[in-house]
């Protein structure tokens, strides 16, 4: 009995706040469930699912999401890996340096979103001013008001907010590479590129695979930045699947349709994660 007592809060969280709501979500997805008309709740079969699939925005939003995840996670990886490589060998004040370089990790999506929303402002924004000064554009761009452009600040904010996580995790992995391996490689005349591809990357592969998956899932599921910076606009052009879900749920209060849509892409995500784990022989990777 003892271990269950110790873990009681965790068990409660997992079952009470995850498993049970999930079951409820499945039930709600088959119901006509509008928060504004709670007296008219009734089962309607697959209607919510059909309605969600027929949504004319769905194609664009799926494409937005895929692009968003690939660009953001890709850039986070490059920036984070670069930072980890730069921090690999100790130097004086490294601890202080890390405290500064990792700051965004401690910041909220909200503040970060606010910051970039202001920087990308169409009239008074600093980004427009810099681009003008360097002669890259002739006229100020209204980033947030142009469909197709408005998601750019979201990209930048998401990258800025997330690459430290890669850096922190990859740095730990890099430091687990025995120093002798480097030294003997250097003696054997390995160049920088060769060391990167033959030593560093194979060594950090397990960690990298885990973080990549976690990051993809988190990026996919986060909607705070979209909510703060563009609120999905103009005309849904900057929505990702999860922010669209939020808009659907709390904009129209149609919980049934939102649950159906959410369940569909949760299942899709789980299938993708399963395939990824199979392909990369994930069980040999880190246990996060």
């Amino acid at each position: 009995m003892e271990p269950y007592l110790f873990c009681l809060p965790l068990i409660f969280c997992l079952f009470g706040l995850f498993a049970y709501p999930m079951i409820r979500a499945v039930v709600i997805s088959f119901q006509k469930y509008k928060l504004s008309q709670l007296n008219k709740v009734k089962f309607i079969g697959w209607d919510n699912y059909i309605k969600s699939l027929k949504d004319s925005n769905l194609g664009m939003i799926t494409w937005n999401t895929v692009r968003y995840v690939v660009i953001v996670v890709g850039m986070q990886f490059f920036l984070g890996f670069g930072l980890a490589l730069a921090l690999r060998r100790p130097f004086r004040f490294r601890n202080i340096y890390q405290s500064i370089a990792f700051i965004p990790y401690a910041l909220s999506g909200f503040v970060c979103g606010l910051m970039f929303r202001w920087s990308f402002n169409g009239e008074y924004g600093v980004i427009n001013d810099l681009l003008l000064r360097f002669g890259l554009i002739k006229e100020k761009i209204s980033f947030l008001g142009t469909p197709g452009m408005s998601i750019i600040p979201v990209y930048v904010a998401a990258i800025w907010l997330g690459y430290q996580f890669f850096a922190i995790m990859l740095l730990a992995a890099l430091q687990s590479i025995p120093q002798e391996v480097y030294e003997s490689a250097e003696l054997d005349g390995c160049g920088w590129w060769r060391r990167l591809f033959s030593i560093i990357l194979p060594y950090i592969r397990p960690t990298l695979l885990t973080i990549l998956m976690l990051r993809v899932v988190w990026t996919f599921n986060s909607y705070e930045l979209v909510y703060v910076i563009t609120e999905g606009g103009p005309a849904y052009s900057s929505e990702t699947l999860s922010s669209y879900l939020f808009t659907r749920a709390y904009g129209s209060l149609d919980f049934g349709a939102a649950s159906a849509l959410g369940l569909m892409f949760a299942v899709m995500l789980l299938i993708c994660a399963g395939i990824y784990m199979k392909l990369t022989k994930f069980s040999k990777a880190g246990d996060f």
Binding site: C7, F102, A173, Q175, N221
Partner: protein, 291 residues
């Protein structure tokens, strides 16, 4: 489980030798600092400008012409920012303290016992990571409104604390895993029971773990926006972030005020993070890197 020797940091000085590799590294280090500082600097500069200077279409200034703290003062006079700061601080501190105590128990349980359903729980946690949060939020909102917990402090506390428990348990567990069981066994031999063994023997060694979990929980709640947006509509319960967000909606966005609020919102997390950055990094990487 073995851990990456992050604690092992040899200190050595080398004679300075000009190398292109070193040069590139220094450039990279400078670049990364600038990348972090620039947006925060811009936020700060905006917060100390006058309204006229901020909204000058013809010219964007990179330092305040008329340096002023007016925006900060306005925030406290007109928007009652102090009240919301108190809310934010209250939520964050209570949550962090409760989560540390709760996850010490559950982390201990997960680390020291093997029991039926443990693997299942870890699997469930993995799946929970993959489910979009909003999907759980919808039924939770329904449950909350049935229980009358919408727009109550109790409801918020409950949501914050339970939201942090799973991740913090995993972190705490990783720290427990590093402490040898023999330490406790020695305490048992000396006549301690389990609870005594935890508090007298394990606790002092666990301080870094507790610090990490405290910081995780504190910053998560301090930084939260959506929980408060979804479960409250009464402004007396709002946090800093929700208040600031509500100020964007108006036609005329007061960017000076917003940036001042943003600076206030990010200060505590930066300060806390600077002090315990090592433990946080340790906590993040504790369970994750295999050799």
């Amino acid at each position: 489980m073995t851990n990456a020797p992050t604690a092992y940091r040899p200190r050595y000085r080398r004679k300075f030798k000009w190398k292109w590799g070193e040069f590139g590294r220094v450039c990279a280090l400078v670049f990364y600092v600038l990348l972090v500082i620039a947006p925060i600097y811009w936020m700060f500069v905006t917060s100390v400008k006058t309204y006229g200077e901020i909204t000058d279409v013809s010219r964007v200034t990179y330092w305040a012409k008329n340096f002023t703290w007016d925006n900060y003062a306005h925030l406290f006079d007109t928007v009652e920012f102090g009240k919301y700061m108190k809310n934010s601080l209250l939520y964050a501190l209570v949550t962090a303290a409760s989560v540390v105590v709760i996850t010490m128990l559950s982390g201990y349980g997960m680390s020291r016992y093997s029991f039926r359903g443990k693997g299942f729980m870890m699997g469930m946690w993995m799946v929970a990571q993959m489910i979009p949060g909003i999907l759980c939020t919808i039924p939770m909102y329904v449950i909350y409104s049935r229980l009358g917990l919408i727009n109550t402090r109790t409801g918020l506390f409950f949501m914050f604390i339970t939201g942090q428990i799973p991740f913090c348990t995993i972190t705490m567990r990783a720290f427990f895993d590093r402490i040898p069981v023999s330490l406790e066994e020695a305490a048992f031999v000396d006549g301690c029971n389990r609870v005594q063994a935890i508090f007298k023997i394990v606790l002092p060694v666990l301080l870094p773990g507790m610090a990490a979990v405290f910081v995780f929980a504190f910053t998560a709640v301090w930084n939260d926006l959506m929980t408060c947006v979804i479960y409250t509509s009464k402004s007396s319960l709002w946090t800093i972030n929700v208040t600031l967000k509500s100020m964007i909606g108006r036609v005329n966005v007061e960017w000076g005020l917003l940036m001042a609020g943003g600076i206030i919102a990010l200060l505590p997390t930066i300060v806390v993070f600077a002090f315990v950055q090592r433990y946080v990094v340790d906590g993040l990487t504790a369970g994750s890197v295999k050799e």
